[in-house]
Amino acid sequence: MNNDELKEAITALLPTVTFDETGEFLNALIGSEDLLPLMKALRSQTELHFDYLFCLTCVDWKDHLMMVYHLLSKDHKHTVVVKAKITDTKNPEIEAVTGIWKTANFHEREVYDLFGVKFKNHPDMRRILLDEDWPGYPLRKNYVDENMISL
């Protein structure tokens, strides 16, 4: 599918989606509450069939957090980036996609570790890189570490 066909197919799944085509890939912007049903459909529909989640991360935009999912279909060779906006920066929460792509397990734990986003229904929601008692979430822009020296 090309980008226009993808846009049509995704709009049929979720009418509130907006698109951004300025970058290399097609970006689909959604609210965090719509994530799980859309992702399930993207994975299971035969004409979309996004079977490979090649990158999962989060970006802190200070007033909101943006979850970024890079999806690729091995059969159809098309790519889409799903961006889910989390407005609650105090207690960020979003549904886990570990049940759909197993690789999300480790990547979501990493996002939890470094951004503090809690993933609902994740099988093993623990920190992965830092200690369990590490204060704060280092990749958040408001993180302060007194020992950090800026060059």
Binding site: D51, L53, V59, K102, F106, P138
Partner: protein, 374 residues
């Protein structure tokens, strides 16, 4: 009864809990695995990561677009060139420039030399892990020669920091071409020894055939890439899928296996070494004259936006995701490292195997722990 960490040694179900690592020769770095065993059968594996987490992503947010590249040499130190290349390409994508033709060919040559030397080290270590000490010395014989070439041109053996936005840092050493040709001749002459030492060895085959099976669907779902996934029949070579730096002009084959076990992963890497030699031989006499670096501004500033670059390292797909807000340093950088995803499939591969097989599985995934922890 509990161990020094306060964890129970025997669970209520009668399973033994043992710790492998963080300091253990077969984990190739500081990886800590907690393993639940029923007799000798693995019931659960829990990797504990982060012993050498250096927070390279956070560090990069305060470094300039020229400087952050050098931190990536310390991620997958066996593919340092290719990590640098990925970052340089991502910055070039943002600046909308391309490396000069001469630099592109030098980059491919260096990347393939890196892949070859990385696979050689892996081959030696796999033998060592499974109880064969001799292969290690054979592997280092040719690897050392490649490291010497790197040292001569880049000034460093392991963390070369040679690729920069727009090209490479310096021109190649005058001896580069003839030394590479000499080494390739030597490697080709000795490659059959690799097969004689390990490939046909009955003990080695018994320890790897049918061990650590990974199906094609699971390999994709776990995000496995590189030889680990290709042995399961997943076509995922970025050099073929999204060619960069002129890989589309080079002739080589993507090696695919079908068995999905440790032996399959071994055979894929052995065949990839021959492909790397093939690529190097095509290019070594065809390095075009010209500049080795495109002209760039002193202070690089990427326009507002997002840039994603995927490359094929010796271990799989490395993704560099740069989010720029127009400043002189990145707003956010994410490294999607191949080892992190490959490691997540370890438990799936190891369940139901014997504890001794875990070593074979780990060594054929070819883990480099600094790349997992970043």
């Amino acid at each position: 009864m509990s161990n020094l960490l306060g964890d129970p040694i025997v669970t209520e179900e009668g399973e033994f809990v043992i710790n492998v690592g963080p300091q253990h020769p077969s984990t190739h770095g500081v990886l800590h695995l907690k393993i639940w065993l029923d007799g000798e059968t693995i019931k659960k594996v829990q990797p504990h990561l982060g012993y050498i987490h250096r927070s390279i992503e956070k560090m990069s947010e305060s470094l300039s677009y020229r400087n952050f590249i050098f931190a990536t040499s310390r991620m997958d130190y066996l593919s340092a060139h290719i990590n640098n290349q990925a970052c340089a390409l991502a910055v070039e994508k943002g600046l909308q420039i391309e490396a000069t033709p001469r630099a592109q060919i030098i980059r491919i040559l260096m990347a393939e030399l890196t892949r070859l030397s990385s696979h050689q080290l892996w081959w030696g270590c796999t033998g060592l892990d499974l109880g064969a000490v001799t292969p290690f010395f054979y592997a280092f014989r040719e690897r050392e020669a490649i490291m010497d070439i790197m040292e001569e041109t880049c000034g460093a053996r392991l963390t070369q920091n040679y690729m920069v936005p727009g090209g490479v840092m310096y021109d190649i050493h005058p001896n580069f071409q003839h030394r590479v040709k000499d080494v390739m001749k030597q490697v080709k002459k000795y490659l059959h020894e690799y097969d004689e030492l390990l490939t046909g060895n009955v003990i080695f085959e018994n320890r790897t055939k049918g061990v650590g099976y990974l199906s094609k669907e699971d390999a994709i779902s776990y995000g496995c890439t590189g030889p680990t996934a290709r042995a399961s029949g997943v076509s995922c070579d970025i050099r073929k899928w999204n060619p960069y730096d002129g890989y589309e002009k080079v002739q080589f084959e993507e090696i695919l296996g079908t068995s999905g076990d440790c032996y399959g992963r071994y055979m894929v890497r052995m065949a990839e070494m021959k492909q790397s030699i093939h690529i190097i031989e095509q290019l070594i006499d065809n390095i075009p004259e010209g500049d080795f670096q495109a002209k760039t501004k002193n202070v690089l500033k990427l326009p507002k936006g997002e840039f994603y670059q995927r490359v094929e390292t010796a271990r799989g797909e490395l993704g560099v995701y740069i989010v720029s807000d127009g400043a002189a340093s990145p707003y956010r950088i994410k490294y999607r490292s191949p080892n992190f995803s490959n490691l997540s499939a370890l438990e799936h591969m190891a369940l139901g195997s014997k504890i001794g097989d875990l070593v074979a599985i780990m060594s054929t995934i070819d883990l480099v722990i600094p790349d997992v922890d970043r």
